[in-house]
Symmetry: C2
Subunit: 147 residues, 2 copies
DNA sequence: TGAGCTGTAACTATTGATATTACAATTCAC
DNA sequence: GTGAATTGTAATATCAATAGTTACAGCTCA
C-alpha cells in the first residue's frame, strides 16, 4: 500500500502558495485547478495543514498563507500533518498472533525495534528536506521554462 | 496508509520455520495457528516468498524450508517479495496535475528526486537487517521465557 | 489408495482514498 | 445591509486493497 497522495498534494499546495501567493488569491478552487483534484479534498488537506499550524486559511474571504519561513517546515512536518499512517505506525502488524505459540507471543519483542529503526530512517530523511528546497527547485524549473 | 501486514507476517513465518522446522512440518495450517491469520492468506504469502526464491514449499506432502543462509536474506528481500508497494513506488502521486499551471506541469521534476531519496533511505535500512538478526532475537526471547 | 497438504478460484466484508453535491457560516466590497 | 465569493463540513458514492472464508482439483507419500 502506498503512502496517500495527500502528501504530494500538500507539497504541491505549498509550491503554489509560494509561486502565486503574491499575484493571486490562492483558494481551494485555484489549487484544485493546479492539482486536478477535487476542491473539497483540497480543503480537507488545507484543514489538516492549518491544524498543524503550517498555514492560515482566510475564512469567508478566502486565500491561504504560510505561517513560518519555508526552511523551518520539513517534509516530516507535512507528512505528519496529513496523517499518512495510522497511530504513527508505518507498518501494519497482524492483529492477534497466537499466545500459545512461543514465536507468536514474542513476535512483537522480536520485531518492533527493527520496524522502529526502518520507520526512523524514513522520518529522518523526510526531516532533512524542507519547503525551501521545494521553493528553490520550483523557481529553477519555472525559469528554465521561460528561456 | 500503512504497509501491508504481509510484511510482518512474512517475517513471522521465517521465525517459525527457523524455530520449528527441525521438530515439526511447517504447514500453512501450522503457520495460521501461530499468526492467527487465515491459512489461505498464509499460502498466498508463501507463494510470493517462493516466487522470490526465498523458500521452498513441498507440494503435496507439505512443509516449508528456507533456500539460503539467513544472513543472506534481508528485510528488503522480504519486503519486495510480498509486494508492499505498487510499481515499487512508496509514494502515491496525484494522477493528473494540470499542464496549464506552471507548477502543475513541473511538480514531478520538483518532487521526484526527493521522494526517491526518502524511499531509498527506507530501503537502505530494510537492507541492513537480515533474518539472521531475527533468528538471534527469537532465540534470545524464547530462552528468556524458559528461565 | 487414502490422508494430508498445496495452489488457486470465487465470493464476501471491511476499510481507506478520492470524488461529488450540497449548504450553512463567514467575510468583505459595494 | 446585501450579495458574491469562499470556507468548513456533512452526506453519499465509487473504487481499490486487505483480509477472511469456502471449496476443490491436483500432488505426494506412507
Amino acid at each position: 500500500m502506498q503512502i496517500s497522495s495527500r502528501f504530494t498534494l500538500a507539497v504541491h499546495i505549498f509550491a503554489c502558495i509560494d509561486t502565486f501567493g503574491n499575484e493571486y488569491k490562492v483558494t481551494s478552487d485555484f489549487l484544485a485547478g493546479s492539482t486536478n483534484v477535487n476542491p473539497v479534498i483540497i480543503r480537507k488537506i488545507l484543514g489538516q495543514l492549518k491544524g498543524a499550524g503550517l498555514i492560515e486559511v482566510a475564512r469567508g474571504t478566502g486565500g491561504t498563507t504560510v505561517t513560518k519561513p519555508l526552511d523551518e517546515i520539513t517534509f516530516l512536518d507535512v507528512y505528519n500533518a496529513v496523517e499518512c499512517v495510522e497511530n504513527g505506525e508505518l507498518f501494519h502488524f497482524h492483529e492477534n498472533p497466537s499466545t500459545n505459540c512461543p514465536v507468536g507471543r514474542n513476535i512483537h519483542y522480536i520485531l518492533d525495534d527493527k520496524l522502529y529503526r526502518v520507520q526512523s530512517a524514513l522520518e529522518k530523511e523526510l526531516a532533512s528536506i524542507t519547503l525551501a528546497d521545494i521553493k528553490q527547485d520550483t523557481e529553477k524549473y519555472l525559469s528554465e521554462e521561460n528561456r
